[in-house]
Amino acid sequence: MSIKLESVSKTYQLKGRKVEALKETSLEIKSGEIFGLIGYSGAGKSTLVRLINLLEQPTTGSVTVAGEDLTKLTKHELRQKRQKIGMIFQQFNLIESKTVYENIEFVLKASKFDKKNRTARIKELLELVGLGDKAEIKSSNLSGGQKQRVGIARALANDPDILLCDEATSALDPDTTKSILKLLNRINKDLGITIIVITHEMEVIKEIADRVGVMSKGEILEMGHTYDVFSHPKHEITKDFVQEIYNFEVPNQFKATRENQVITIQFLSENAEENYLNKLYRNFDLNISILNGRIEYIKDQPLGFLMFQVTGKEEEINRLKSHIDQTNGIERVGYIG
């Protein structure tokens, strides 16, 4: 279901002071896509995602989900609507005294799901998240990854059209994160559920987000297809996030001069890298030594970075640079190096 936020903003009153958690923002999320919001803590992404199920009331603006303005619903209607918007959390937020089964049963009770079919439904959900044998285990006895799987099963129990993920993998180790992201990807593909992920981890965005918004200080700085945003970052913060995955740094002792420079280039396709480098060696009278190189897949599309040091005549270096600039699929990256 498509989600439309129109000129929403959120201002809190904190000890008489006004705190603007979210500046006026408009955003449309298409049905069936995985939309990511990335930002450091305090960027306002938690507030933004909570506007979608109205856990937070917007100070201004409207929230439309599948054509319905949520701010205009009665309490009862809103509750029913929320059953169609699943949500999972960083701290999982399971009911500790209940078993896995009872935790899922709770939301089925909330939707008055037919009693006779509950057991079958819960079994089906647990199979989906890979916890078929854990129904009777008390939720406090599960590992973090298992808890999040129960959280996902609970969020999916009432056949939602939308799944909101609030830092859903931030409390998990890298391997568990990967497996949860895989599960989310599968849910998106198989069930056609629109997913909104908020996170401070690039890992999450590059694995699953079709489109991404980069947030800072209560606003979305830039937004677009994930690959485009991270191959051509415009804002400092976006560049920081790219830098975070590639982790390229110019060696400390390096001092740039006209005859001695560090150049970082990015490849927008997979195989170009090696051939291209050979070409450079052959065609330029320069000393080229590689400092760092890495290919990452952003939503299954490769984005390679290569950092090298060139020494030689200034004119030759300039010729190299303009050669790079004229080559398709390869770009110089100004902000690294």
Binding site: N53, R82, I85, M87, L94, V107, A110
Partner: protein, 219 residues
């Protein structure tokens, strides 16, 4: 009193009176205090049913009742208690004041029992489209079962302590026996025996309460 045989019938009667007063009072403390405690909690919680004004008024009333020294509370509510039970002395009469004192105590304890439930859990329930009623009955109460059991234990013990003062209105009970015979009449035997009996009662209540609380958690 010179011997235990003389003391026994009086002590037995006092024990029954104590049991009667405690039973009536804890019954009403839970009956009224539990919903009040829930109301106190949900009216302050931003995700549940926040009504600041109602919460302040409720809290204010609870605090006023709890501020009264028990003996003054007894005297202050005498006309009301007389009207209510159609009597002006005895354990049932004393139970009115005891209940009134115990309700706000228990309500506050219930309110703080819910603080053990993480806000995130409540948020998840709201996000799942659950009603406040379902959240209270199916999440808050089961999650707080252990601390509510402990709150009942604590309230019973407080009522036993309060009930010593109930002698003023002829409530009787073990505590009253200790004061009237042991203290006013310098009757050392009665004093010692009644205090020992009170110690034993409190220990038993605490022990049973702890057992039940642990079982509530293990479930």
């Amino acid at each position: 009193m010179d011997s235990f045989s003389q003391l026994w019938p009086i002590l037995y009667k006092a024990l029954l009176e104590t049991v009667q007063m405690v039973s009536i009072s804890i019954f009403f403390a839970v009956l009224l205090g539990l919903p009040l405690g829930i109301l106190l909690y949900i009216t302050q919680h931003p995700l549940l049913f926040r009504i600041k004004s109602l919460n302040s008024v409720l809290g204010w009333v609870m605090n006023i009742i709890r501020s009264f020294p028990f003996i003054i509370l007894i005297v202050a509510i005498m006309p009301f208690a007389t009207w209510l039970v159609n009597d002006s002395h005895g354990p049932v009469f004393a139970s009115v004041a005891l209940s009134i004192a115990a309700v706000p105590l228990f309500a506050r304890l219930v309110e703080s029992s819910f603080n053990g439930v993480k806000d995130g859990v409540i948020e998840a329930c709201i996000a799942g489209g659950a009603s406040i009623f379902l959240i209270v009955t199916d999440v808050l109460l089961p999650e707080a079962k252990k601390s509510i059991t402990q709150a009942i234990t604590l309230t019973i013990i407080s009522i036993i302590a309060f009930s010593a003062t109930a002698g003023v209105v002829g409530g009787g009970g073990v505590g009253d026996l200790a004061i009237r015979y042991g203290y006013y009449r310098y009757d050392t035997l009665t004093m010692i025996v009644t205090v020992v009996v009170l110690i034993i009662i409190v220990q038993i209540v605490q022990w049973v309460g702890d057992r039940l609380a642990n079982r509530a958690e293990d479930k």
